[in-house]
């Protein structure tokens, strides 16, 4: 239990900063919604004059585009980007920092197995991610409520917001996996930033991969448009994610248990 509390303490300040940034971003973007919806009528007319092919290319469905949830769908990319960096940092750093700080051999002299050690660290990281999401969700719902005067579908808004933690979990496990595979990570951000931004850019260049891009980058894995339309998250993708996370986590345990840990000199 000591390790768990220690990790929470270690990451306390950075988690607060991440939570505040996420809240600030959602607050800022959503507060633009009134400005944006002011032009509704003109934009609607322009859109309706477009050929269907163009509308499809832009991924615009007129009926949802002007609702708060439709607006949220477009800004959510940047929320995901920020949250993913946080999660990737946690994943890459939480175990590898012991090696970088030369505290691994100290930790391993304690009467716990490596498996227990990893479990506690993962539990601490999950706690931090859950706390982040709870605070974020509260801030997002509050802002959405204020700017739209309660005129939005809360369930769907919450469902879209929940994909944040789902994407974060993917980046967290990928980060953990990298920290298990790479020989020695000296600086966490030099691994996590390229990782997240590579996937971010793949997501932005989506049309070259067509529909398959969903399987290539966590950023496109959950389709908010589907959530808006159907009111649920696609079960198939939840299942894929669950399988992915289980396999990778098992691999992480296996690799860390066998890994050569260099002692501090």
């Amino acid at each position: 239990m000591n390790i768990f509390w220690h990790e929470l303490k270690q990451y306390r300040r950075s988690t607060i900063v991440w939570v505040l940034s996420l809240c600030f971003i959602v607050l800022f973007f959503l507060s633009l919604f009134p400005v944006f919806s002011k032009d509704v009528e003109t934009v609607r007319k322009i859109f309706e004059s477009y050929p269907v092919a163009v509308r499809d290319a832009l991924n615009v469905q007129i009926d949802i585009f002007f609702t708060l949830n439709g607006f949220y769908l477009f800004i959510f990319t940047y929320i995901l980007l920020t949250g993913s960096i946080q999660a990737a940092n946690l994943g890459v750093g939480i175990i590898s920092k012991e090696a970088a700080g030369k505290t691994f051999d100290f930790l391993l002299t304690k009467p716990i197995t490596r498996t227990q050690l990893i479990t506690r660290k993962i539990a601490a990281a999950l706690t931090l991610l859950i706390v982040t999401n709870i605070v974020y969700l509260a801030a997002a719902v509050f802002t959405a409520n204020t700017v739209s005067h309660g005129d939005f579908e809360m369930n769907i808004f919450i469902l879209i917001s929940l994909t944040l933690i789902l994407v974060q979990l993917m980046f967290f496990t990928i980060g953990l996996f990298l920290s298990a595979v790479l020989p020695k990570i000296k600086s966490v951000v030099t691994v996590s930033l390229p990782l997240v931004f590579a996937f971010f850019i793949i997501g932005m260049l989506d049309s070259i991969f067509g529909n398959k891009v969903r399987y290539l980058t966590p950023f496109k894995f959950y389709d908010p448009a589907y959530i808006i339309k159907n009111g649920t998250i696609e079960f198939k993708f939840l299942l894929i994610e669950a399988i992915f996370i289980v396999i990778v986590t098992v691999a992480v345990y296996y690799l860390f248990n066998k890994k050569d840990i260099s002692a501090a000199d």
Partner: protein, 266 residues
């Protein structure tokens, strides 16, 4: 001289990886462009009527013709500078702070060279790295665009944009170096540098969303050499060139000032 050569050597594989990344990015961008070009529909005029905020939401860059290679490259440029600035800020912070992080600073500074000289060698090595990345981007852009482009040549515009990107790289390199130079706990310098990078990146998107924030554009280098204005005016805005140069010089001077004086974290 030894420090310089050693830094070049240490950084050659990371540099290679970043170069490959940039080339892949440009290549995949051009594949996408080939799709646009062959579909033959220029949707730009109709899109131009949309309010700016809506265009920003849809990720369109106002007034750029996507069906020309030049216009398409302008969109791609946004992602290229993202990659290049991440590289330079991590490099700048890392190259200074790694001695303390890896506990090699005592070893390094018992050598008969003053700190300022070490710093110069390191900064020069970092400078070479960003220069190489810039040239790789330039050459691969020119070649890949030429392969897929059926319209007017875009070489001149690419050179111009790459010159702008070089200034951005300089800013973020010196920013990373300055943070590592100032901070007493240099381990966190790469995180701080990337936090600033993320903040300025998001700020540039905020400005796109909400034109009343236009005045904040001085705060984010991502707005200094906006592809659209560079391409329409045909030159880099001299004001921002000077501003970037001043920022870079001030940051480098700060690095020297603090790093030569502060206690090393041993």
């Amino acid at each position: 001289m030894n420090v310089f050569i050693r830094e070049l050597k240490v950084n050659r594989y990371p540099l290679l990886a970043w170069s490959v990344g940039v080339v892949l990015l440009i290549y995949s961008g051009m594949l996408k462009f080939a799709g646009y070009q062959s579909s033959g529909q220029s949707i730009n005029q109709i899109l131009d009527q949309l309010p700016k905020s809506v265009q920003a939401i849809l990720g369109l860059n106002v007034g750029i013709d996507l069906s020309s290679a030049k216009g398409f490259y302008a969109i791609l440029f946004f992602y290229i500078i993202l990659v290049a600035t991440i590289h330079s800020s991590l490099l700048g912070a890392g190259i200074i702070s790694k001695e303390e992080r890896d506990r090699t600073s005592e070893f390094l500074f018992v050598k008969p060279i003053p700190r300022a000289k070490v710093l110069t060698a390191k900064l020069l090595a970092a400078f070479c790295n960003i220069l190489v990345l810039n040239l790789v981007t330039l050459v691969s852009s020119v070649c890949l665009v030429a392969i897929y482009n059926k319209g007017a040549s875009a070489t001149h515009d690419i050179i111009l944009l790459m010159a702008g990107m070089f200034f951005l790289q300089l800013i973020f390199l010196s920013l990373g170096a300055a943070i590592a130079g100032i901070s007493i706990k240099p381990k966190g310098s790469a995180s701080i540098a990337s936090a600033i990078l993320l903040f300025t990146f998001l700020l540039s998107i905020f400005i796109d969303f909400y034109s009343k924030l236009e005045n904040l554009k001085y705060l984010t280098p991502f707005k200094y050499f906006d592809a659209k204005s560079v391409l329409t005016s045909g030159k880099l805005d001299p004001f921002y060139l000077v501003l970037s140069a001043i920022i870079a010089v001030v940051l480098v001077a700060t690095t020297y000032l603090f790093y030569t004086k502060r206690d090393l974290d041993v």
